[in-house]
Amino acid sequence: MSLTLFALTGAALVGLGVYGLLARPHMLRRIIAFNLIGSGLFLFFGAAAARGTGLDPIPQALIITGIVVALSASALAVGLVVALARSSGTAYLPDEEGRL
Amino acid sequence: MTVWLHIVAIVLLASLGGALWRVWRGRSQADRMMAAQLIGTSGVAVLIVLAALQDWTLLVVAFALALLAALAAVGFVTSQSPDGAGDPEEAHPPKGWRDRGRNG
């Protein structure tokens, strides 16, 4: 019961993240959206790993790896957004709808 | 006891939800940050209760949370200063802050 709850929460978080990624063109919000999608997927994965007898440690290790990977990508992305704002004065990509 | 601790955790989460409302409706950035800080403390409390309920190693997670919550707040106050690198207690940036005379 609880596992299904967590898995569906994870799936919903992925959906929220996808919406944020597509509908929120400010790049900082897109980075946040990426993190939502990633953590939603991991939550789904964690719930799946808890279905058997005991908690499977392999998915846990993979999730920890994934969290660190997400942080690395976020750090580079944040750096690029700041550099973009510095060189062009905006945190929106060129030709992106809804530029200021 | 198990039931009571569950209730405590649920009520703590509910009170945390109240603080979330303040993040949503905050008047200023500082206001929102303070609400986030309260949420952090509630989170630590929830983890302490869960430690008693499930596994005492969760105290380690609670400790990490308490430590890291302070980092976010420090990051907030420095990013709020005029040059993004200061201390709100400084009336004005010190003279020559731009010459970066550190490290010799």
Partner: protein, 489 residues
């Protein structure tokens, strides 16, 4: 086994050295690492040629507990192509990316990033574990994005950010598929998955992974990030990005559809993949035709050239895998992958020389370059022959094999795509060729050492030689090929 481990660890250690060592020791360390890694890749190919696929369970742990590596003919061949391109780029970058020329920032960052990219490309070619491949793909993405941003220009920052956006979206799609695969089967190993009990969620998992990999391979319509990212990078970096980086995600696609889950290769899915490839061939070619700068023409041509490879799916995938023409189609697609890599790297390195010599890569500024720098003109012409698919180049062999398979299987529409793509390539490459080989030369270009000019020429010659000596690589690619029911046409 030793060659396999050396190919993975030597570039990593060289990258660490290039980070930690003081400025004057960086380039020598990187070049030494490049030489040793080249030797390791060639050695691995020899071992695979002599003894068949090399398999290694890392740490002694068999899947599903541990991660297995396996170098088959395909992986080893891509490793050799990568090594040749990397070595050429490293030699050229001595002139372009030295700290004295490119500045201390770019001169610092290029070398470790190049070596990290090399190590991870090698890792991608041999890994059998889907999650490990996710980590590898992320590492490739971050290194590649950094290489785009290295020039520091505003358009490079925007291009790098757009690239990162697409690549991360692709990674997450792929990761979603990996999560579903493990949740259903408790393993991530390609060989174990091939023998799995089919689950209803498999089709969704394969679809998600495929979608993610298509974004990373820049297949039409996900190609929008590629041309500007590839042309905004410094030329040696462009060569790596265009010739090598998309090949990693492409290889994983092949492994998924031909090795891990061939049972899910429904005709409609294979047709969709090939149709997207066909559209990439046409649309990429048309866009390349419209460009005025050499690097953008070459970058758009990558979109088109990658499209050909996707014709392999209906020609050798699914039920077609057992047919006589499958081996030809499969090998043709790999030939395209290899010869495009060599030729595309040669073209970008030529563009790099022209940027240094003339300070511009506008076609109007490049008139008569072949008279001033004859070796570069010759290199660009040879590479063009490969991309157009003219005999006797590697590109010709690739397209010939694919076309034969298309006729043999009665799917003549793909033959039309191949012919149209060749004509388009001839058209979009004619313009730079005409400019470079024009009789008049506008301004005297800066002198370029002959040793530097010879580097792209070497790659271009190799891309043609691949066609002349095609029987050896043809046999080599069959080593460890999945489902080798029938041997070639």
């Amino acid at each position: 086994m030793t060659a396999l481990v050396a190919g993975l660890t030597l570039p990593l250690l060289a990258a660490f050295a290039a980070i930690a060592l003081p400025m004057r020791a960086r380039v020598p360390a990187a070049l030494l690492g490049a030489g040793l890694t080249l030797a390791a890749s060639l050695w691995l190919a020899v071992v695979v040629w002599q003894t068949g696929p090399v398999t290694l369970s890392l740490g002694g742990w068999q899947p599903p507990i541990g991660i297995a590596l396996r170098a088959d003919g395909l992986g080893a061949a891509l490793g050799v192509m990568t090594a040749l391109v990397m070595t050429a780029v490293a030699l050229a970058a001595r002139h372009e990316m030295a700290a004295s020329v490119a500045g201390p920032r770019a001169g610092f960052g290029f070398w470790p990033l190049m070596l990290l990219l090399w190590a991870t490309m090698n890792a991608a070619f041999v890994s059998r574990d889907l999650f490990n491949l996710y980590v590898v793909l992320e590492l490739i993405t971050l290194s590649a994005v950094a290489l785009v941003a290295i020039s520091g220009k505003a358009e490079a920052i925007a291009a790098a950010l757009r690239y990162l956006l697409f690549a991360l979206a692709g990674s997450l799609l792929y990761l979603a598929g990996v999560v579903l695969t493990y949740a259903a089967h408790g393993t991530l190993d390609i060989s174990l998955l091939a023998a799995r009990m089919a689950a209803p969620s498999d089709a969704l998992a394969l679809g998600l992974m495929t979608a993610g990999l298509l974004v990373k391979t820049a297949l039409f319509p996900f190609h929008v990030w590629l041309p500007h990212a590839h042309s905004a990078a410094p030329a040696p970096a462009s060569a790596l990005l265009s010739a090598l980086v998309p090949k990693a995600s492409l290889l994983i696609l092949l492994r998924l559809w031909f090795e891990a889950m061939p049972d899910l290769a429904a005709p409609a899915a294979l047709l969709t993949l090939a149709s997207l490839g066909a559209m990439a061939v046409i649309w990429g070619g048309l866009l390349a035709l419209a460009q005025a700068r050499l690097k953008l023409i070459v970058a758009y041509s990558t979109v088109a050239q990658l499209g050909y490879i996707f014709l392999v799916f209906p020609l050798a995938g699914g039920d077609g895998g057992a047919q006589v023409w499958a081996a030809g189609a499969w090998t043709g697609a790999i030939f395209q992958t290899l010869s495009h890599g060599l030729a595309k790297a040669a073209m970008f390195l030529v563009a790099g020389i022209y940027l240094v010599a003339m300070g511009s890569d506008r076609l109007s500024d490049l008139r008569g370059m072949a008279r001033a720098l004859p070796m570069t003109g010759f290199a660009f012409a040879l590479a063009s022959i490969t991309l157009m698919g003219l005999p006797p180049s590697g590109g010709f062999t690739a397209k010939y094999l694919l076309m034969t398979a298309a006729f043999a299987s009665g799917q003549w529409a793909w033959a039309l795509v191949l012919a149209a793509g060749g004509l388009l390539a001839a058209a979009y490459l004619y313009r730079p060729l005409a400019a470079i080989f024009a009789r008049e030369s506008a301004v005297a270009p800066r002198a370029i050492p002959r040793s530097w000019q010879a580097i792209p020429l070497g790659l271009a010659v190799l891309s043609v030689a691949l066609g002349l000596l095609s029987s050896v690589p043809f046999e080599f690619l069959q080593i460890g090929r999945p489902d080798p029911a029938a041997e070639g046409l």
